[in-house]
């Protein structure tokens, strides 16, 4: 195993982790402030990806397509919140699970009715090639763009949450909703806004990952579970926790999938290695979560005092 491979896989882990963060950030706020389990968060990611692919087809430009998909998905998310999810906040977790599970079915099939099971979406041609980062280390330019966008958005979100009035309100809502309402904050309006931002971030993640992972119906479910793992590891309601959790999960997932099989091949008989490699890689993140919860049952950065 060479240093180049290690570096390359670390970048892959960082890239995946940052995209997970875009999903987890919205999810953790929804969960933290309104105590609402939203299984349909992954559907927003899928809708964002389909809208991006569709707009790219219409406009012929990747950038224009993605930029159009972001507000469109945000509008979709806010409409969903105002029309339906709002009435679920006061209900118990089980009702929320059933309702948002139903939403997954509806949105999945709805997308299939409109666009079919999948849409083509490829990275812009200018970014298709690799870039030589270090002598001997070639890295796809498009993945670098994802890392850049992810870092920029993470920074923007950090500033938004820690440095602005709206961010202060969000943090107040996450740590104690009743108290925030008693202090005169209009949690409902704040929340619709938060939901819109969450949906916009989903759209960015969907559009950016689309060319790498394929834009297809059902793409939201797998990543949804990873996003839940992230926010549970990080501590529900905490943006900082979501960032740390995302990077941890991104790195562990990538390491488990690519580096562990290498290691196994060196130390185990080949037959066993090829069987155990992928499984252990996928198990790693769940093991990570189980260990974190065992040691810190509230996650790494609990938002509630």
């Amino acid at each position: 195993m060479s240093g180049i491979l290690l570096l390359e896989q670390s970048l892959n882990g960082l890239q995946f982790g940052l995209m997970l963060f875009l999903l987890a950030a919205g999810l953790t706020l929804v969960f933290g402030i309104m105590d609402m389990i939203n299984l349909a968060h992954g559907s927003l990611y899928m809708v964002g990806a389909f809208l991006a692919a569709w707009f790219v087809q219409l406009t012929g430009s990747f950038v224009a397509g993605v930029l159009l998909a972001i507000p469109a998905t945000a509008a979709f998310g806010m409409a969903l919140e105002a029309a339906l999810l709002r009435s679920l906040y006061a209900r118990d977790h089980l009702s929320q699970v059933l309702a948002t599970f139903a939403l997954i079915l509806i949105i999945n099939e709805g997308v299939r009715m409109v666009w079919g099971s999948d849409l083509p979406l490829s990275a812009p041609a200018a970014l298709a090639g690799p870039v030589e980062l270090l002598p001997g280390l070639y890295y796809p330019a498009y993945r670098l763009l994802i890392i850049g966008v992810g870092l920029a958005l993470a920074l923007l979100l950090y500033v938004l949450v820690t440095r602005t009035r709206m961010g202060a309100l969000v943090r107040a809502g996450a740590s104690n909703r009743e108290m925030a309402m008693a202090m005169g904050i209009d949690i409902r309006r704040l929340f619709t806004a938060v939901f819109g931002i969450g949906a916009a971030l989903c759209a960015v993640a969907g559009a950016m990952l689309g060319p790498l992972l394929a834009v297809q119906v059902g793409m939201g479910e797998g990543i949804l579970i990873l996003a839940f793992v992230v926010i549970v590891i990080g501590g529900i309601g905490s943006i900082r926790g979501a960032l740390v959790g995302s990077l941890l999960v991104g790195l562990v997932d990538t390491a488990g999938r690519t580096l562990l099989p290498h290691l196994f091949r060196e130390f185990l008989p080949p037959q066993l290695a090829s069987a155990a490699g992928p499984a252990v890689g996928s198990i790693m993140i769940y093991l990570l979560m189980a260990v974190v919860l065992f040691v810190r049952p509230q996650g790494l950065f609990p938002a509630r005092g």
């Binding site: 089980l94 079915l105 099939e109 549970v232 499984a279 093991l287």
Partner: protein
């Protein structure tokens, strides 16, 4: 020391109990007549459809024991189904076809695996419990995926169904139907008896007020663990029947969407009511069959129906039926 009994757990008034017994008797007769009627109508296909629904009913009832009565929202119940299914599948592949060995082994193994999973998971509560049970189920999902000797991600075909002797041949759809029916009846009776016992009353007390039960001297952790393990064993039974029904098992039986589907069945039917799992399983599967006959986009419409039920029938279908029955009773 007497177990604390919340008022809601007290048994219904005698007239309603008599009506309940009559209802169950009627249901039993219907269940026995059903396959013969289908045979007479030349619609034998619907016998195995009903068997499949009853297998899911057992699975949903076993989850309801943990989730509904125990208040422990396990999002990894499919793991126990999977263990049961793979235990029977692997035993049959290795030549052990006796159902008298396979089914108890499936239940025992599911229970044994549930002990460490429960012991770790029950340290957490609320959402964290949901997620940690999910995590364990996903670990098992990937583990089964990697066992190439028994099909890996392609799944495992079984050549023969479990054998029981005494002329019972599970290959015959009618025999299989009655075996599943007996298992379902046994599961319901067991859950009914458990919840009527002192143990059951303590379980309800813990669900309603964990801290108070603890303060009254109930070793809550141990009680929850026992409940979790019983539910897992019954889940293993459902899995063992499922592999026999399909002659096939693949890792998707352990996937989180399967756990989600079981959860939806329980919530749809009625959380914490004896018939909730049965009603939910039948309602969801019948709905799927009916809508799928009209459109390939059945999920779309099933989704809207589920949504309507969440919004307008918060206590599930059993709650809806009960309310209707009470209204009728009041009108008389």
């Amino acid at each position: 020391m007497a177990a604390p009994v919340p008022p809601a757990a007290q048994s219904a008034a005698p007239p309603r109990r008599a009506a309940g017994v009559a209802g169950v008797a009627l249901l039993a007769v219907a269940a026995i007549v059903y396959p013969f009627a289908m045979k007479a109508l030349d619609a034998e296909f619907y016998v195995s459809v009903a068997s499949r629904m009853m297998v899911y009913a057992i699975a949903a009832t076993s989850l309801n024991l943990i989730l509904g009565y125990g208040g422990l929202v396990s999002f990894g119940h499919a793991a126990f189904l999977g263990i049961g299914a793979y235990t029977v599948g692997i035993l049959i592949t290795e030549g052990v076809t006796s159902g008298w060995i396979g089914i108890p082994a499936a239940m025992l193994l599911a229970a044994l695996v549930a002990v460490p999973i429960g012991a770790v998971s029950l340290r957490t509560r609320g959402v964290y419990f949901i997620m940690i049970t999910l995590a364990f189920a996903q670990m098992l999902f990937y583990l089964v995926n990697s066992i190439k000797a028994y099909g890996g991600d392609e799944g495992l075909n079984i050549r023969v169904r479990s054998a029981f002797g005494f002329g019972l041949n599970l290959k015959d759809d009618l025999t299989f139907y009655f075996v599943v029916l007996v298992c379902l009846a046994g599961t319901l009776l067991l859950v009914h008896r458990i919840m009527g016992s002192r143990f059951g009353r303590i379980v309800l007390a813990m669900r309603d007020d964990d801290v108070r039960a603890e303060a009254l001297g109930v070793p809550t952790f141990r009680y929850k663990l026992v409940l979790f393990v019983i539910g897992a064993a019954l889940g293993g039974l459902a899995g063992a029947l499922m592999v026999n029904q399909q002659n096939y098992v693949n890792p998707n039986v352990l996937h989180w969407t399967q756990s989600g589907t079981l959860m939806v069945m329980v919530i749809l039917g009625g959380v914490g009511s004896l018939w909730g799992g049965v009603v939910g399983a039948f309602a969801l599967l019948v709905l799927e069959e009916v809508v799928a006959a009209y459109t390939v986009h059945w999920q779309f419409w099933v989704g809207w129906v589920l949504l309507a039920i969440v919004l307008y029938a918060p206590k599930g279908l059993v709650g809806l039926l009960r309310r209707a029955a009470e209204r009728e009773g009041a009108a008389k």
